[in-house]
């Protein structure tokens, strides 16, 4: 089995059918471990127990950007190689990414209320993530506006690549503008600024959420492929009837 074989939708379906249960089980185990560790993590000397929102908030925020990155790669696959599986990957990822972004916004605002005294603040990071959420919604709307899937894929791919310009703005917004949101403390030059007691559960949760994304994404891709098969069968049937 090589990478090329994976590009064949039938082989893809067969492989994911075998892999998915294991992946889902691994995700569940890791999520449980991560949640347990997060619950056991000590309170922060400044923030008290509210710091635990971080273990859900930060992975969601990372994933919200990561998913757009995955979609940008898929968009390249669509435009350069015109590969149908890339279309499927991009389409299946968009609602999942929107959900992660929404959760990042919600958990962030729940964390912001006790820490900053406000649910929402128009600072650079929050605003740029909100824009990312709007872009996800626009992209989903674009997918749904076109009936022919391969045409929709090409239009969406162009929009995805243009929207990818927003990713570095979000990533560096906390460094470029001096705002309420704290600057990067894990992925930064000179190593993480977080204590081990917080860093370990955070990384476990990050891996668990990434696996959750992979699981959901593969499952959604399977659904999408099957949906397209149903669609083409219906079209064949309709053309036979009319002939």
């Amino acid at each position: 089995m090589t990478l090329i074989d994976l590009a064949n939708p039938t082989k893809f379906l067969a492989l994911t059918a075998r892999v998915l249960p294991w992946l889902a089980a691994l995700t569940a185990v890791l999520l449980l471990v991560g949640l347990y560790q997060s619950a056991m993590a000590p309170d922060d000397y400044q923030q008290g127990s509210t710091v635990k929102i971080m273990f859900v908030h930060v992975p969601n925020a990372w994933l919200s950007m990561f998913v757009w990155g995955v979609m940008s790669l898929a968009a390249l696959g669509t435009l350069v190689w015109r590969h149908p599986l890339a279309d499927v990957a991009a389409k299946a990822a968009a609602p999942i990414g929107a959900a992660f972004t929404f959760l990042a916004l919600v958990t962030g605002s729940l964390w912001g209320r006790p820490m900053w005294g406000t649910y929402w603040e128009w600072d650079a990071r929050l605003t740029s993530v909100l824009i990312l959420f709007l872009m996800y919604l626009g992209l989903i709307a674009l997918w749904r506006a076109v009936e022919d899937p391969s045409r929709a894929a090409r239009a969406a791919a162009i929009l995805t690549l243009v929207g990818a310009l927003n990713l570095p703005i979000i990533k560096f917004s906390v460094d470029w503008w001096n705002t309420l949101h704290q600057p990067a403390s894990v992925m930064r030059m000179g190593g993480p600024a977080l204590d081990r007691a917080f860093l370990v559960p955070l990384l476990v949760m990050a891996v668990a959420f990434s696996l959750l994304f992979v699981t959901l994404h593969l499952a959604a891709m399977r659904n999408e492929i099957l949906r397209r098969r149903v669609r083409s069968l219906q079209m064949m049937q309709a053309s036979q009837r009319s002939a």
Binding site: L79, R151, V162, N166
Partner: protein, 222 residues
């Protein structure tokens, strides 16, 4: 070159004729500015403070309103297919069409700004600051909006979608346009920093817009 010049002349002439819709944008701009005092109250001091933001918001909405004209009319009468099939590179054609659209629909907004500034009780410095930032920023609105217009024209019911697709891309332009004009009026930040970012946004969209629009026209129309 003559092909592009002819295209620009044609587009401007169509836009300025009856039903061309270029001056609708200015009318809409006026409406937004006139509605503001009814919404926030006729307090002149408050209007002065909000003035640059109101003018920028009005210009942005007006340019969004006219964007779907960029390709839609050509698509309806079939000339867009001829344009795509012609030997001139589609990226250049897109850039020329956007330039024509900016000259016909964007430039009148800037010309109207001093008059509308009077209504909002802005002084000469404030008005010229807003006009200058609009001059630097509206090309970015047109050239990023062109991507949305090209995507929308290849769909059948793209009109409403256009605003949803374009709005996120135009937010940075709005932020830096307003902050540059505020800096010129009240300080204490310097005018130069946000203004150069605004110019940079316009230049970036000048590079990206034509390519993305040409790609989506090519992919969408076949």
């Amino acid at each position: 070159m003559t092909v592009l010049a002819a295209l620009i002349r044609r587009d401007i002439r169509i836009a300025l004729r009856v039903g061309g819709g270029a001056l609708i944008g200015v009318l809409f701009f006026l409406t937004v500015v006139v509605l503001m005092p009814f919404a926030v109250g006729p307090d002149l001091a408050l209007l002065t403070r909000l003035g640059p933001a109101i003018l920028w918001l009005g210009a942005l909405l007006a340019s969004l309103l006219t964007l779907d004209r960029l390709f839609m009319a050509d698509h309806d009468d079939g000339s867009l297919d001829l344009i795509v099939m012609s030997r001139t590179p589609l990226e250049l054609t897109c850039a020329a069409k956007a330039l024509a659209h900016w000259l016909a629909a964007g430039l009148p907004l800037i010309v109207a700004t001093p008059v509308l500034g009077l209504l909002l009780n802005l002084d000469a410095t404030a008005t010229s600051a807003v006009a200058l930032t609009l001059l630097a920023g509206t090309p970015a609105l047109t050239f990023t909006g062109m991507i949305g217009a090209a995507l929308a024209v290849t769909l059948h019911r793209g009109g409403l979608l256009l605003a949803v697709l374009v709005l996120p891309l135009s937010i940075p332009v709005l932020i830096f346009g307003v902050s540059a004009s505020q800096a010129a009026i009240t300080g204490p930040l310097s005018f130069g920093t946000p203004f150069s970012i605004l110019c940079a946004l316009s230049l970036v969209s000048l590079v990206i817009g034509p390519f993305a629009a040409a790609a989506s026209l090519r992919h969408g129309l076949d």
